[in-house]
């Protein structure tokens, strides 16, 4: 077991020639609009006929990266762990304007848990210049929200999660962010390099332009396997996962209700009676 860490002072850091190296982590997920089909053995969902898209929050993360690049110069590199098909999600980000995209794809990573996923991303990010790493606050397939903070831990960087406002100082060396907390807003200063995860109220993602889409089609997407990231299935594969999806089932059906259509006074009386007698809150 590693010795307990009491944390360490921020490492000295300066952006290289005012260029900011921005990494955006992207996941491909089922379109939230689409119905899903659970496999008969409950082991997961059938993705073959499914419309897969870039995770909604990752559009906001990509947008945040592009705006930083516009402000400071530098580059936006997209990273994704997934199947070959996940290149489509990366192309969405390239079409928005990202400079480069890397897919880490390896059948040996099948069954990886969120911490394993973060470890893979961390190993790849370590080999790239990175001043700020941006993720969505959650991905809409499982809403887990684990990868961002875990990534920050593995990279030993400070984190700010679910940010709704981002202001980077003129030197590009730290950021002031707003986080929605229960009953208020937390204003936090974060030194760079840092890991940020973004809330949807942070920005309005741009639509890919037509030339952007054409350019993205021609861009080469670099593909890495686990070995290229100096990882083995025994450290990040199913065997190393600390949690296992035992089964997936359809949610229990709610029992059928009543629908009233007619007189307003009757409707009001019905609601009051419901609150009193059934919900017992009045």
């Amino acid at each position: 077991m590693p010795p307990p860490r009491t944390g360490r002072p921020p490492e000295p850091w300066a952006p290289q020639g005012e260029r900011v190296n921005i990494i955006v982590c992207v996941k491909q997920v089922p379109d939230t609009e689409a119905p899903i089909r659970i496999k008969t053995d409950g082991s997961g969902i059938d993705e073959t006929a499914l419309n897969l898209v870039m995770n909604y929050y990752d559009e906001h993360a990509t947008e945040a990266g592009l705006r930083l690049r516009e402000q400071f110069g530098g580059s936006v590199t997209l990273l994704s762990v997934g199947h070959e098909r996940a290149k489509e999600a990366l192309r969405t980000g390239l079409a928005m304007g990202a400079d480069e995209a890397i897919l880490i794809s390896d059948s040996a990573a099948e069954g990886v848990d969120h911490l394993g996923l973060a470890r893979v991303l961390a190993e790849v990010i370590r080999s790239l210049p990175h001043d700020v790493v941006i993720c969505g606050k959650i991905s809409t397939d499982d809403n887990a929200g684990i990868v961002g903070p875990a990534l920050a831990e593995y990279l030993n960087l400070p984190q700010a999660t679910a940010i709704a406002h981002l202001e980077v100082d003129a030197m590009g060396t730290s950021a002031v962010v707003h986080r929605e907390v229960e009953g208020g807003v937390e204003v936090l200063q974060v030194p760079f390099p840092a890991v940020l995860t973004v809330e949807r109220s942070l920005n309005e993602p741009r639509y890919p332009s037509l030339p952007g889409i054409m350019k993205a089609k021609r861009k080469e997407i670099k593909t890495l396997n686990l070995a290229a990231a100096r990882l083995t299935p025994s450290t990040v594969g199913a065997a190393a996962s600390r949690t296992v999806l035992a089964s997936l089932s359809t949610p229990p059906k709610r029992k059928a209700g009543r629908i009233l259509d007619g007189d307003m006074d009757q409707a009001v009386a019905a609601i009051v009676a419901f609150l009193k007698d059934e919900a017992k809150v009045l």
Binding site: T32, E186, L245
Partner: protein, 330 residues
């Protein structure tokens, strides 16, 4: 590894947050299955008042981790203290609330310890000796059952309102110990400049037993006053679907659904909300659902326990008056 179950307690103004008390209830059931103890871990700048109240809510032992640097939540400060504590005396399970703090902290702690974590849990229990959690997945079109492998501890981040508040038992006492905290200011890399509180006339969504929620059918920001009035009369909170947030009628923290909050109140009363899957994802676990919609084909009317086909602008003022009448009659 012990068989104890830890609850990481959040508190404000000397009072434990509702979600933390709910977690003590969840922890009691788990501890019973394993014959372990329920331990409340209370980090903060001052903890004695909150610590003293936790025995009555089901804690057997309270660790008060008091330090000036813990007065305000920071990821680095809290993660340092928690990982050291969990390493020193690993319980079987550590429970966190799915709050802005819990969601920020728990994954960081899990990564540092290299232990299993499941977030957004709707239940945490023991099946054939194994810890399992359930959670909604895929816009709540599915429920996943996740099995934890044996790591010490295992971390579950639990959604609000999944467990009832444990009844207060004033004669029940916990042993309170102070947990030694060694924390260097330099270990905290972020600086909290301020926490701006937003004053609302109604209670926070996360604490509400009754939520009155408005959608695009509210037509404009001024009409949310109708919902405020009803929520106040009922002692509830006001929420919304996404369009009112996108139109700037209400702040983002009102939003319920896939890209907002997940709530499970006793009563969810939806006004002018059609019932898109992304909205249902955040509220279909509510105990009772009432929907008011002028379109008889709105999906939410079909899902509701009580669906009212009608104009919300006619119904809401009358409903508020009727509720006030009931409340004021002895």
């Amino acid at each position: 590894m012990s068989h104890d179950v830890w609850v990481v307690v959040e508190h404000q103004d000397g009072l434990a947050k509702k979600i933390s008390l709910e977690l003590l209830g969840c922890a009691r059931a788990l501890a019973a299955a394993w014959s372990g103890k329920v331990v409340a871990f209370v980090p903060g700048g001052s903890t004695s008042q909150v610590a003293a109240a936790l025995g009555a809510r089901g804690a057997d032992m309270v660790f008060a981790a008091e330090h000036p640097l813990l007065q305000r939540y920071t990821t680095d400060g809290y993660a340092t203290v928690l990982t050291e504590a969990l390493r020193a005396d690993p319980p079987a399970v550590a429970l966190f609330g799915a709050t802005s703090q819990g969601r920020d902290l728990a994954p960081r702690v899990a990564a540092r310890l290299g232990v299993g974590i499941v977030t957004d849990c709707t239940s945490v229990g023991v099946q054939d000796g194994t810890l399992v959690a359930t959670r909604p997945m895929y816009t709540r079109k599915a429920i996943g059952t996740i099995r934890f492998k044996e790591t010490a501890p295992r971390i579950a981040v639990v959604l609000p309102a999944m467990y009832p508040l444990p009844p207060e038992q004033p004669q029940r006492k916990a042993e309170i110990r102070s947990w030694p905290v060694q924390l260097d200011a330099r270990a905290i890399r972020t600086t909290v400049r301020e926490v701006k509180t937003i004053q609302r006339e109604t209670i926070p969504l996360i604490d509400a037993d009754i939520i009155v929620s408005g959608g695009r059918g509210m037509k404009g920001p001024e009409n949310f006053a109708l919902l405020d009035a009803l929520a106040r009369a009922l002692g509830g909170a006001v929420g919304s679907s996404r369009p009112p947030v996108d139109s700037g009628w209400v702040p983002h923290d009102y939003e319920i659904g896939q890209t907002g909050k997940t709530v499970s109140p006793q009563v969810y009363l939806a006004c002018g909300i059609s019932g898109a899957p992304q909205h249902l994802a955040g509220m279909s676990g509510s105990k009772h659902i009432i929907a008011i919609n002028k379109d008889p084909n709105a999906p939410l009317l079909q899902l509701a326990d009580l669906g009212i086909v009608g104009d919300l602008f006619q119904i809401l003022p009358k409903l508020t008056d009727a509720v006030k009448r009931v409340k004021s009659s002895p």
